[in-house]
Amino acid sequence: MEKLKNFFDFRDLPRLDLGIAAAVGLALLVFPFFPFSSFAMSTVIQFLMFSLYGMGWNTIGGYGGQVDLGLAQYLGIGAYATAVSMIRWNTPFWVSMPVGVLIAIAWCSVIGYSVFRLKGHYFAIATIATSLVLKDIFEVWRFVGAARGLEIPATRFSSPDFLHLFFTQDDTYYYIILAFFFIGILYVNWFRKSRLGFQLRSIKDNEEVARSLGINVQWAKIKTYAVAVTFVSAVGSFHACYVKNIEPEDTMSLDISILIALMAMLGGAGSLWGPLIGAGILIPLKSYLKEWLGARAGLVGIDLVIYGAIIMFISAVEPRGVWGIVERIRRRKRA
């Protein structure tokens, strides 16, 4: 019971933040009732998905300081678990998603057990390596469609099918991922102040000291990794149903891993709102820059040049990302 209350305990945050968060939450709830374009709708769904990926990354990467650049492999595991079982056995999403999560957790324990002995950049690159190996395996593994990937046929179920998450309307997908999103925020809010959260931040500070305080460093990292992986693979399962077509290149590539980390890092690693801010900036920026500059003006690449420049600018100005800028302004005001 106390635990449940802790999910909703935002008391340590400034009023202003909560006010803005509540306003944004409300806006998200009523968003589909306004006649926005389908482009806006899919951009917002992307935003929600990447926020969730980013929240997952943030637990291990932000609070724990273990920079993982291979999370896409868990996205792939989640997506494939759902797609394979839906195509072969008609398994409902609500069954295949937890199964996918379990497989992902099992895989992450294997990976984590060995990889968490590595530090800093060695760790980051090892996570990339494992992710690429898994992708290469999926690219030749016939059972999961090899390089061709898997497609949930557009005519397989009749929409709306809530069990298999099969709808023609994006609105329905939207509300499902929005529910995930709210649960995600509440969970991270609980996590950051939980015992594990504290232990993790102590580990990030100094592993030796953490050990002397009775923390089993390896185990704490693996537990947190499992949390991160749960986020990513659950949303990966959703991705499979939403996109209905998955390929190794599309779900497990390095680009996706990087993008996930980018969201959280740009927004502010190790803060509750960081991943949301990162995704909230990068996803619309990417879509609309492309729409305005890339496709219309015919200047191929200029959208991403600007995109890259913005990332460079923020990283140079404030190492803690956008959230760091916010905090700095706040501190200056206080002083």
Binding site: S194, F198, R201, N206, E208, R211, S212, L213
Partner: protein, 249 residues
């Protein structure tokens, strides 16, 4: 008095350098034991050996009736043996209170319990006004108090303190002495401390152990140890020796 911790013939070497050579000692329940010795004598190494920070080459360590020689650092900490670090770089993003809460979380999973216990420790160590500061921003004296409070959060039976009075003014040393007394007497924790600040050693320790070149060269009451010619030669120097013998006689 029964021995709370018993160190038997501990040897630890790094490459060719033997940092701890066949050291044995014990600390009784409720004792306040001091360890002194020249720089590089192997004091910190001995703490590392006892607290499981590194594996020892040979020897045996018994704590509270259990052989802990083969246990890992965090397992030993959970048994009630907590140590602090000589060079503690608290940079990170934890505030003073959060730091202490990490310690408290060893014994409880509940956030409210940990928070309440941390509040108590903040009060005990005069850290209340600093609770929301980042540890790295504090002056050294305050940092050391945070370190002690955090260690006390784990409710240890035995506390190993590594140079908590280094770099403090005499005033602050007095405050630290008070803190250690509080830990020892009011909370009933057995303490072993490493210190170069002799005022402190002379003041608070029941018994002193002297290391030199990895070996135990003397052991006894503080006022006896400072008269030991070997200790004077290796560690104290004539001037200090004169001072302390004068004081204690």
């Amino acid at each position: 008095m029964t021995a709370l911790v018993e160190v038997r013939n501990v040897t630890k070497s790094f490459g060719g350098l033997v940092a701890n050579k066949n050291i044995s000692f014990e600390a009784a329940r409720g004792e306040l034991l001091g360890i002194i010795g020249p720089n590089g004598a192997g004091k910190t190494t001995l703490f590392n050996s006892v607290a499981g920070t590194h594996r020892i080459d040979s020897g045996r360590i018994v704590f509270d009736g259990r052989d802990i020689t083969a246990l890992k650092a965090h397992e030993i900490a959970r048994l009630g043996l907590t140590r602090t670090f000589q060079i503690y770089a608290a940079s990170g993003d934890l505030t003073v209170k959060e730091n202490i809460m990490v310690g408290c979380f060893m014994k409880t999973g509940s956030r409210s319990v940990a928070s309440a216990r941390a509040d108590g420790l903040l009060r005990d160590f005069q850290l209340e006004p600093l609770a929301r500061h980042m540890v790295g921003e504090l002056p050294i004296a305050a940092q050391k108090r945070v370190v002690m409070a955090t260690a006390m959060g784990t409710e240890p039976k035995l506390l190993l303190l590594d140079e908590v009075a280094a770099g403090l003014t005499p005033h602050e040393v007095d405050a630290t002495v008070a803190s250690i007394r509080f830990i020892h007497q009011d909370l009933g924790v057995t303490v072993i401390l490493i210190e170069h600040v002799m005022e402190m050693v002379m003041n608070v320790c029941h018994r002193v152990l002297v290391l030199d070149y990895g070996e135990k060269i003397a052991e006894g009451l503080p006022r006896d140890v400072v008269k030991d010619p070997g200790v004077i030669k290796a560690y104290l120097g004539e001037r200090y020796a004169r001072e302390y013998t004068a004081e204690s006689s």
